[in-house]
Assembly symmetry: C2
Homo-oligomer: 322 residues x 2
């Protein structure tokens, strides 16, 4: 590196708190997937664009399906000891961690500004990962959510969620399947093989993905942050998680919800099992930590950065921050 380049890197590091986002690199890649061959389907003539030139498209052949999409942001002033992977919940994409529906910084920008290399992704069949033909390849039909549906299920009423921007949140919702878990886990495992050792922060549906992938690659995962996990890992393999410090974070309004007391109880029981196997598990119910009113979409709530700071402190306590 030239003297000028070195000086610039030093200046940038010093200015990182002022320069909103000084990155040494950013980019994206796809990872994982498998080939599937289809046959016996009719050839179609397709006009891709009105007035365009027709093309024959033969749908028979080999498809590359079930890859996933990853976008990374690497700060100039790197302070996280490991990459921080962010995995979204069901019916959503990596947009979960980007700008909030009402236009504030999300957890992606915030953790990058703290100096973490962040890898934000779209799981198999979501967003930029693309999706495959059903029932030929995916075995069930996709599920679509009417716009009012998540409002109750995500405990938004009377919460810190910016309800005035609820429609923008609904715009982030994408179709999802309930039969693609194995494919999602396979791709996440390939992601971990590619970019870890790392810490993984995962939300809601990704509860089972975070824990199961950590059980598959216990040596590569150095911390788990389970944000309102809706599923867990394999209870028979909890001992594989005993060397991975784990934080559970739950929001507010759980006791008065129809489903969340059970979902929380299952998560906490899984944490207890990891602890019983010798693991280090912390469960934070935000209201008990003085942080009130959080919906299921903690990373979008008005106090989202207060919750992020709590996670940051826990990561520091694990010795993963310089």
């Amino acid at each position: 590196m030239s003297a000028r380049a070195t000086l610039c890197m030093l200046l940038l590091a010093g200015c990182a708190a002022q320069a909103p986002l000084a990155l040494r690199d950013m980019g994206s890649f796809h990872v994982g997937g498998r080939e599937v061959t289809l046959s016996g389907k009719p050839v179609k003539e397709v006009v891709f664009t009105p007035g365009g030139v027709p093309a024959k498209v033969d749908p028979n052949g080999t498809y590359l399906v079930e890859a996933m999409y990853v976008q990374y942001f690497l700060p100039a002033n790197k302070r996280g000891a490991l990459p921080l992977l962010m995995w979204h919940g069901g019916g959503l994409t990596g947009v979960t961690y980007e700008t909030t529906p009402d236009g504030r910084d999300g957890w992606l920008n915030w953790f990058v500004k703290q100096g973490w290399d962040v890898y934000n992704s779209d799981a198999v069949e979501r967003g930029r990962a693309g999706w495959a033909m059903y029932p030929d390849i995916f075995k069930s039909e996709p599920l679509f959510l009417p716009k009012d549906e998540p409002f109750g299920r995500f405990r938004m009423k009377g919460s810190q969620f910016p309800v005035e921007a609820y429609d923008n949140f609904v715009r982030q919702v994408v179709p999802r399947w309930t039969s693609t878990d194995d494919a999602i886990i396979a791709a996440y495992t390939e992601l971990v093989d590619k970019v870890c050792p790392c810490a993984i922060l995962f939300h809601s549906q990704a509860g089972q993905f975070g824990f199961k992938v950590a059980q598959a690659r216990p040596d590569k995962v150095k911390a788990l942050i389970a944000v309102e996990p809706a599923g867990q890992g394999d209870p028979k393999l909890v001992d594989r998680l005993k060397n991975i410090p784990t934080l559970f974070v739950y929001g507010d309004g759980i006791a008065s919800d129809a489903r969340w007391p059970t979902i929380r109880k299952n998560g906490v029981a899984f944490g207890d099992a990891i602890r019983a196997a010798g693991g280090k598990v912390e469960v934070v119910d935000l209201p008990n930590a003085g942080i009130r009113g959080n919906s299921h979409m903690l990373m979008m709530d008005r106090n989202n950065l207060e919750v992020a700071a709590l996670i940051q402190r826990w990561l520091e306590q694990q010795g993963l921050y310089r």
Copy 2:
């Protein structure tokens, strides 16, 4: 701004060529869409996660569909006079402009490094924009491409395309419809209303979107870069484009292709019509400019930054760069 902040901004600007990416902000939003109400469908009980708590999902109700996704990167050292919007082609997403399939900088990073505010997007029904039920809302079936299909149609054989990374390109391909053009144009028009005046760089299928949206908002679009457009605007409304400088860019190997001579001829004829109406149109066939071997995916080819530099020079010639 404090003295320290000002100093830092100046240093960052001066270091911008060294600091790979100094941003004053980055983020994302969704824009556009409409509400559609469905009725008469059975209520489903859905277990979103294995072992999870079943939820009743009533598919009847109002859906918010046909919005689009936009991600923006705003350099600290801003030199572009206007935002530069990047619109991808058919069966693809904004990933088109990100890291190339073989891991090099794409046009997104390159133009941000030149100092352009770049808005890269996923059109309606692609990627993070999500998609809607068919045939209830979208009126046709989606189209899936076998992995070998684009190779010929995108003129990759013997080209500058990094064929060793072809599978990574295929991983970027997503399902597409051929019945959603009006919805795509409506959302792009809302995007233009939100972030323009601007320059728009568009590829392939987006040929018709770039030209038609410019015809709908001629006062808001200050430059058009049509990269191998596969469609055009409304020929009856070419006069609306007469004040918008327009660049057409075509790659190599067109003469020996089955479809591309016609596609190119249609594009050039549309450019001629704009010129006849008083417009300023430049058509660059890259081989004639000494840039050889480009496939249809110019922004991913080995010489992708050479093509980007040609576009940059043209933007400078239009007085849109400081």
